[in-house]
Symmetry: D2
């Protein structure tokens, strides 16, 4: 009898999700003759009345180059800790994982591919431990997952940020301004680091290297005296000042309403403004970094992940997650994959290259 | 004897400024055999010790496609009302226009081309009235100047915003969110209107049409019931609610710290969140809209402006400003040009086209 | 009773066709409550068994930014002169317009919107004369139609060519080469002219200005002696040498197999190679110029055309074609529109601007 | 005494060359206090009177994002086999390497960085063997060099080709055509393979997999019967038919003037036209693939190569070439690097992934 496999996408959207779905569907139908069912809105689509639809070759036509996910996604919907509203208006977290298991059975799913980040993969692992034949596909636009060399979507984000830096350069230069650009990266500074090098930033601040404001001001003043009257500062949203500065930054935040202004970027700008006496502007890229058509690299990597996920089902390698290791895409245990962060090495080649190129990291 | 002409760029930077400079320099040197001097940092470069340099054919090589201005610009430097710091630390506004006249004489400028917006053109007109042979070139990224059909830089801004809307669509759709995008346009809503139509916005709010929040919520709810669970709302920074709502908006601003959050976009998002119960995000494009390489249209229009400015000098048509009228670039009096706003007609074809396409304008 | 309107797209594809379709469908359904039927593959879809499908609001979702046409198009299918294969293998042209009329009746079409170029509009006019309530929408990527100030798709093509020229500049400069770029424009040189100015070409050859090879070689040699050791030459496919050169060009074509090499671009390159003794390369952009997402301007103009076409039906203004005149989209008789070419004025402002910018037109 | 290092770029231009130069200059001057001299036009600048200029921090300002090379390049100029014209007009190849050595001495170069492909690196190795302290930087836009995992420029080329395929899709689909796109790749099919997967090609032909025309026609006919009436075929310029077909291809080439038409792409198109009876078009991307701004990845990789090249000089590791190995940039002997081709593995994961995605490789 024909196998039925289900696929869902969870967590924040990311360029390449559709390429994964297309890779799974084409491989499943053409190579194995399976039926594919797409669950809508992540795990949320498996709670209550299940929301799903069949995915045919026609369903995935023309989606390789489209950003987002045709299945929808959701940040809610952890079935082991699902928020339900009680009669008195308060919210309670309950375990609805039994519904998920029931729904998968009802759909007739012989296997489930869960595409998502840390949160989604943890749910996938928990379901696997309860007997669901699960395959994981890692998604993290920040590139902060240790188990895979790199993930799809990340390079597209670097590309978008670099293009923004190219644009902001002309304004900074024409007006002799410092422009602070806040980018994604709560725990890992990869986006700031790579787009900063590619976009010719003068300062890059990342969570892995707590910064000293004095160093930054010194560097920019030296730059100014050498005749460059403008500066581009790239700040990962998770960057923070070293110990001594922590209190100062907190105060700055309070004084300037930084929390509301979008965080660390504004705080850095306010301090720069003070120490340099230079006009300073902040740009927060926010959701612009997630959207749009994936770069060729991300289309290919995501397609490879999708094809390999289907192959792992064919090999009954459940509990595995696809991952790029060197030149090849392989399977690794989901369990080993979650919660292991891939962070920038402050002494690594990339940071040192940045420093040789005259980039200041606030140290 | 060879004529010397000076050129400066004032006000906010704008894609196409370099194309104007190149057009002036090539025409002046090749067609007329003049010498060209570039004043640095707008009128500020003519106060105190003048800051300028000769512009040769080599100086303008490769700049056609570059954003910003190789001459630098400045928002300061109105010589009729120039801020100087006094001994007691306070600031005084004094008239330093005599310095400007002296410096132009010292440079040996037989004519001055001033490229800039309303502020720059007013100074140009005042200098013309004191005997300086001035030619104006209009620059307003918002397209809000009546005297010319369109200006360079505007279409590039529309292009950047449209690209951002294309990207945000995939995120809005995947997450079933409303995304509010705040764009430039203090007095005129052209950027919001054109990029909103081109980027398939569901709601467009512009200063020319005060909005009623209820209308917007009704429209988005109807959209939701028709099965589209996401929305893109484009808001010009100068948009505001109709009378009855004004107080409410003020309150919202206070409650949500809107002033700090970047203005009207956040206020609209907060209200949408409340009335729709839909996750809402705000993106403020800010300086991203000014930067980068001009579109072909803007490169051509700015080149035409530069060539024509030099020709107006050759014809001794001082006190004139270049302007696009229909298919041709012509000269109009600077005096008639300033302070006449080009605003969107709320009953005009473009707005009505938007409404036929199902866009809601909050009315 | 509800009206049914039909729409078809004919001739070469062009960015913006989908925006027209979307504009028609949204306006017809939302504003007038009509039914819309999409004919497939141009007039060919009305010959034999008609090929069509209903177009709903859902059919046009997400197509605004997509190139091509969801309806398909065809260069064949003139129903007044339709190619049919005879038993002996030869081809005969017969009049099948009666089938078209029958099929439109069978579909129940109360009106037909024909989107296309000169060929399509001529058929539309002929059908109108036989009683079909027709509205035309002009499409010509070359911008060679007199009846409308500009058409959609053209600016996208200029944009693509300009981007190609930007890219080729770096190669030409690094290798000290002349690069000849052949672009669309059989009867009118608009694409070559505008992209050449925007892309900083050194020579632009257009059908409106027959060129003298000596002038080009002189100009490029002068450029070389002034220190610029590379050149970009943009050639419209319809460009040709002035009288005396005609024979020479024909010979060159025969010698170098020019016809096969893609035409005039190769001929120019061969001659340049000879007169300059400089390495020369040819790039023929071909179909790259038609494809991809329309620019914001083209999305808006095409949307306006679509909306207005529906409005002309509502006003029963049949036999009319939508056209941009100054700032507004209006209706003009199809009859007056066809066969009136919009050509570059050799003495006009744009060409003179190019010459002031040091561009040589081979004269 | 301050060290002087020289740098040159040889062979075809490639996005990222300027980033290498900038990386070398910044590191040499800022980290080591050296002087840097840029040789013009590759090794050709070291023959006869040397052509060079000092490179300062100012010389490399703003070049990170520019394609091409500020130093110029040349395909001529192998000093061991240098073409000189004799009195009788014939050309002789002579050894002028002594001039190169003299010139390097005259310039006072303590080390030479040679950036280039196979040809350039071979010359570098030969000079090293004669005592010149040489460091190599590998450049091959085709990615066909075994000694480094990947080189700069390659991903930019893949990006350009993918964008072209995206555009051509809309035309192919609207017109129901097969479009054949010929791309770079004489010995290795990487560009065709990766851009074909990313650009959703239906057929990919590469030098590593000789193709059988019947297989391609069968695949496209099956595709047609499944309802997809258009096809995109990507052909590497070095692709060729399997044995039995070789003669046929040769004949086709002669019949259709293929050599002149630009090679294998036209031959494949002609055969497709015949076997499918479908309108077929050829697009040859040619020089478009080399130009323009490098992608962020290429900017970073090239910068790393530049920095590392300077560091290898500091470590006196002459005769080495920088290379990417896994995550780090390291030094490998130039000797071991040249002439070892990096070719696509016909049984490797990438080709198999393509096949799972329904791409036909003509086998």
């Amino acid at each position: 009898m024909t196998k039925t496999i289900a696929i869902l996408t969870g967590g924040g959207d990311c360029p390449g999700l559709n390429a994964v779905i297309r890779g799974v569907v084409r491989t499943a139908i053409r190579c194995y003759g399976w039926r594919v069912v797409g669950i809508e809105d992540g795990f949320d689509g498996l709670v209550g009345n299940p929301r799903y639809r069949e995915l045919t070759l026609g369903s995935v036509r023309g989606i390789l180059q489209r950003g987002g996910t045709i299945l929808g996604t959701s940040n809610r919907g952890n079935p082991f800790s699902y928020a339900v509203e009680k009669d008195d208006g308060s919210t309670e977290l309950i375990d609805v994982s039994a519904q998920v298991l029931d729904n998968l059975r009802q759909i007739g799913a012989d296997a489930l591919i869960a595409v998502g980040g840390d949160g989604t993969l943890k749910i996938a692992q928990a379901l696997y431990e309860r007997g669901v034949p699960v395959i994981g596909v890692p998604k993290t636009i920040d590139n902060d997952l240790r188990a895979t060399d790199i993930t799809f979507g990340y390079r597209t984000a670097v590309s978008i940020v670099t293009e923004a830096l190219d644009r902001l350069h002309t304004t900074a230069e024409s007006h002799q301004r410092a422009i602070v650009v806040e980018v994604m990266g709560r725990d890992a500074g990869w986006i700031a680091l790579e787009s900063g090098i590619a976009g010719s930033a003068d300062v890059i601040l990342i969570p892995e290297i707590p910064y000293a404001m004095e160093r930054i001001c010194d560097a920019l003043e030296a730059r100014c005296q050498a005749g460059s009257r403008f500066s581009i500062v790239v700040v990962a949203e998770g960057a923070y000042p070293i110990a001594g500065d922590k209190v100062r930054q907190k105060q700055a935040a309070e004084n300037f309403g930084v929390e509301r202004l979008g965080g660390i970027g504004a705080a850095v700008a306010a301090e720069l403004n003070e120490c340099l006496g230079m006009e300073t502007r902040v740009v927060t890229l926010g959701h612009l970094q997630r959207g749009g058509s994936p770069t060729p690299y991300d289309r290919i990597l995501a397609s490879r992940f999708g094809v390999r996920a289907a192959e792992l089902i064919a090999a009954s390698s459940f509990g595995q997650m696809v991952a790029l290791k060197g030149q090849s895409v392989t399977g690794v245990p989901i369990a080993s994959a979650v919660a292991q962060l891939n962070r920038v090495d402050p002494q690594g080649e990339l940071v040192r290259t940045g420093e040789s190129l005259a980039i200041n990291f606030g140290r």
